[in-house]
């Protein structure tokens, strides 16, 4: 069965026309993603550090590891990749297919991918950062924890990523939006920043989302909540009033506005 799957996979090289539902450019490259040589078992934290340094943050793989690494497992769980990015104030959204991966790379965003570099029976789990690709050369480029860039044929990358269930993570500062996520994904990621008490980052993300989706009251509602959590009552009231203008019927908006106004009055 395994051998059959292997042969079948070998027989079909990656065909962009067949695998993608949009016309992706022949090549794309994200500039300025640093190569960080990972410490033992730190591919997860190193990946996040690379992406955050690319965005301008001053974060080391040790900083990330303290929030993400599980020493007992000798690795980093998917959930901790997401959680640590959020605890560092980043917008983290998951992706799950080639469409999203190449959409992000074309939007100029590096993408963390979860791969099994071994086989199903002998897994070698690994996180790498996809920084570019070239269909003509049949190559996909990764910063993969060594000092050199890793170059993989699409078919090989496809197999290693498929064994990781096509899991990928876009980690961005909260003033930028992923190209492949919908409004609900970004809203949930923003609310998750509130949950880990990253209220300043949540506030920025709600403002970013409000600019992208100006007709949706939920962004102003979240903005009001994030400002309230930081003690900015006047800012919270401004946002909640805007939410009420966008949809006067929402009880939650009225309740929170009344709450903030009561505190301002008292």
């Amino acid at each position: 069965m395994l051998a059959l799957g292997w042969l079948a996979a070998c027989a079909s090289p990656f065909d962009p026309d067949e695998r993608l539902s949009f016309e992706a450019p022949t090549r794309a490259q994200v500039a300025g993603v640093p190569l960080i040589k990972q410490e033992d078992f730190f591919c997860g934290p190193a990946s996040i550090a690379m992406v955050m340094q690319w965005a301008g943050a001053d974060v080391t793989q040790q900083d990330v590891a303290a929030l993400a690494f599980s020493p007992g497992a000798g690795g980093t769980y998917l959930a901790d990749m997401i959680g640590s990015s959020r605890r560092l104030g980043q917008l983290a959204t998951e992706i799950s297919d080639f469409d999203q991966l190449l959409t992000e790379v074309n939007a100029g965003h590096p993408v963390i991918v979860f791969q099994n570099l071994g086989l199903g029976v002998l897994p070698v789990w690994h996180y790498g950062v996809v920084t570019g690709y070239d269909f003509d050369k049949d190559e996909i480029y990764l910063n993969s924890g060594q000092l050199d860039q890793m170059i993989m044929e699409f078919a090989v990358f496809e197999r290693t990523w498929r064994r990781g269930d096509y899991w990928g993570l876009v980690v961005l500062p909260p003033d930028q939006l992923p190209a492949s996520a919908d409004e609900k994904d970004v809203l949930s990621a923003a609310a998750a920043l509130e949950r880990v008490s990253q209220f300043k980052a949540a506030e920025t993300l709600y403002e970013t989302g409000a600019a992208e989706w100006p007709d949706s009251w939920l962004w102003q509602f979240g903005l009001g909540n994030a400002r309230y959590a930081q003690g900015d009552l006047l800012g919270a009231r401004r946002a909640l009033r805007r939410a009420r203008v966008l949809d006067p019927a929402i009880q939650e908006v009225r309740a929170n506005l009344a709450f903030v106004e009561a505190e301002l009055a008292g």
């Binding site: 609310a191 509130e194 939920l218 509602f221 979240g222 909540n225 309230y228 929170n256 709450f259």
Partner: protein
Amino acid sequence: MGILNISKKSIAIVLSAQLILATQAVTMAQAEMVGTDAAINKYTALASRNALMDEMQRADVQAEIVALGIDPIEAEARLAALSDAEIATMLTQMENDSAGADIVGTLFTIFVILLVTDLLCFTRFFNFTRCVR
């Protein structure tokens, strides 16, 4: 006399309902702020449901449903009975089955019709649907 009784009763019910709502609103305002998470979950689920309901109202969908021998009102009632989680699951399955393409237009219409026929035991397209006949 009888009518008067009933109307008094219903006025009382309306009034007490208003009272409860008013009390709740006050408690809501006094206890703590409503979290963003809760609102997102509630209202984005609502949006998915509304999108399905809107699709059901389209003339071609209605015609298709009638052609299949299904009462549109019953179809709508079945759709309304789905939980938020079921609607989310179904939308995910739609996305997967359409192989990454955006679900728009015709494809979405077909899925909605399949959903209705599933619920009325004509088909068994979606994994979670249980027919109620």
